[in-house]
Amino acid sequence: MRETTPVHTRKVLRDRGVQLLIYASVLLISTVFIWILADLVRGGLAHLSWEFLMESPRDAGRTGGIASILVSTLLILLVAVLTAVPIAWTTAILLAEFIAVDSAFGKAVRFSLHVLAGVPSIVFGLFGNAFFSIYLGLGFSILSGGLTLACMLLPILASTAEAGLRTVPNAYRMSASALGLTRTATLVHLILPAAAPVLAAGLLLGIGRALAETAALLFTSGYVDRMPDSLLDSGRALALHIFDLSMNVPGGDMPAYASALVLVSLLLCINILAMKFAYGLQRRKIRT
């Protein structure tokens, strides 16, 4: 017994060490997050007010608010998500449910999605400018900005959704099939609900990316800070506004901080909402 003791303590020590390392990295991540948040709050809270949210920018954004910017951002986001989600999710369903993992077609689609996911956003911006703004004649508009963002979102949404669908145990498909359920019924009643949290998480990730996007919108939705009248108007997104204020507008630091605070708060809200939503969906499915 005596000679096993040192081995035992060494194991315990190693165990403790690993735990310590894990806690340390969690702490590090939280610290970075809290630091950024604190910096934003310190710099932006003083400038943030109801008027700031409700007024349109004046004097290149030095005074006034961000109302028109928020509206444009929301519209761009809406266009992007509404276009990308149906295409991406049906692609994911096709890849995960209807064709074999190792089929040539599936491989080709997956490969192009991976490549698309790695393309820098400025390239999407150039493509969007050439295709939507010029070729399709949409000009610098919320529509071309939103469609460009949709192209960017496609790979993120499709890959996360496919991964989500693949986490659903195959036993569900087998037993559903053995009960004579059709593929559609299985998909609607079992697989999609089971994958909903992952789908929601992917959507979130996508919306986060879209909210924070600047480069892709620079050449597509433009940077006119007026309130947009229609989807064919140019509109400045929030992230672009922050970029413009801090880079091109001397004395724009305070509104830039305040806008950044709004942006991060939005991201936080979307996160919390989506998590609540996914959880609720799961519970509802179990109850009905």
Partner: protein, 281 residues
Amino acid sequence: MNSSQCTDKSDTFTLGPLEAGPVCCDPQPAIQVRNLSLLYDGKAALDKVTLDIFQGCITALIGPSGCGKTSFLSAINRLTDLIPGCHVTGKILVHNQDIHHPDTHAQTLRRQVGMVFQKPTPFPLSIRRNLSLPLNEHGITQKTEVAAITEHVLRDVGLWDEVHDRLDASALSLSGGQQQRLCIARALALKPQILLMDEPCSALDPLASGIVEDLICRLRGRYTIVIVTHNLAQARRIANYAAFFWVSGRAGQLIEFGRCQHIFESPSHELTAAYVNGVRG
């Protein structure tokens, strides 16, 4: 017509006297399997299996692990269609209808041929929804009818008293044995004519196992049951016929098929004798 007119042909793999079920003379094959071979990614798992499964009888499939019993069952309700790389050759007739014929719909076939899996596979839904979802999908949507079937099948599997006050709880909150009985109930709810059971009792305690065994015996005559079991005593108790599978080389083969008594007491093949007497396998 009476049973004394039965001719004993149990030595062939395809005919034998009916020992239970509806009183009739000629045993009617419910499933006819002819030269069934099954390959996974080109590797044979079953090799030229030919046997008849008789209507209203309980047929036990016995044999060592990996000899293709589960594969055999999946071929009967065409669940093998879902396994990528799985290739089935040979002919299977269910109630005289070729299951691989283009006119045979997989959904219709699978409603006729219910299956209970080796591992319990309840859906991540409520207990009630687990039963009502397949019913709704097959056009039984009337609330009272669904509720009646739910109670009936849950009573059949001896689960009603345990769960009647929490039908809306998640099926995943049930114990393993309860989950398995729920799956049996789910299969029964669709009133299949044939029931394939892949070791339905392996996850059950002796008490629950006894309940299921009694249930299976009560189903005799009304349903045609094919049951895979590693419990030889159980097979002996409940089955009318037994089929013994064995892996020879790499592929599983049907070594012997016949009346249960015959297989267990006077097997014609030495492998069968060794297996049922616990010498090998």
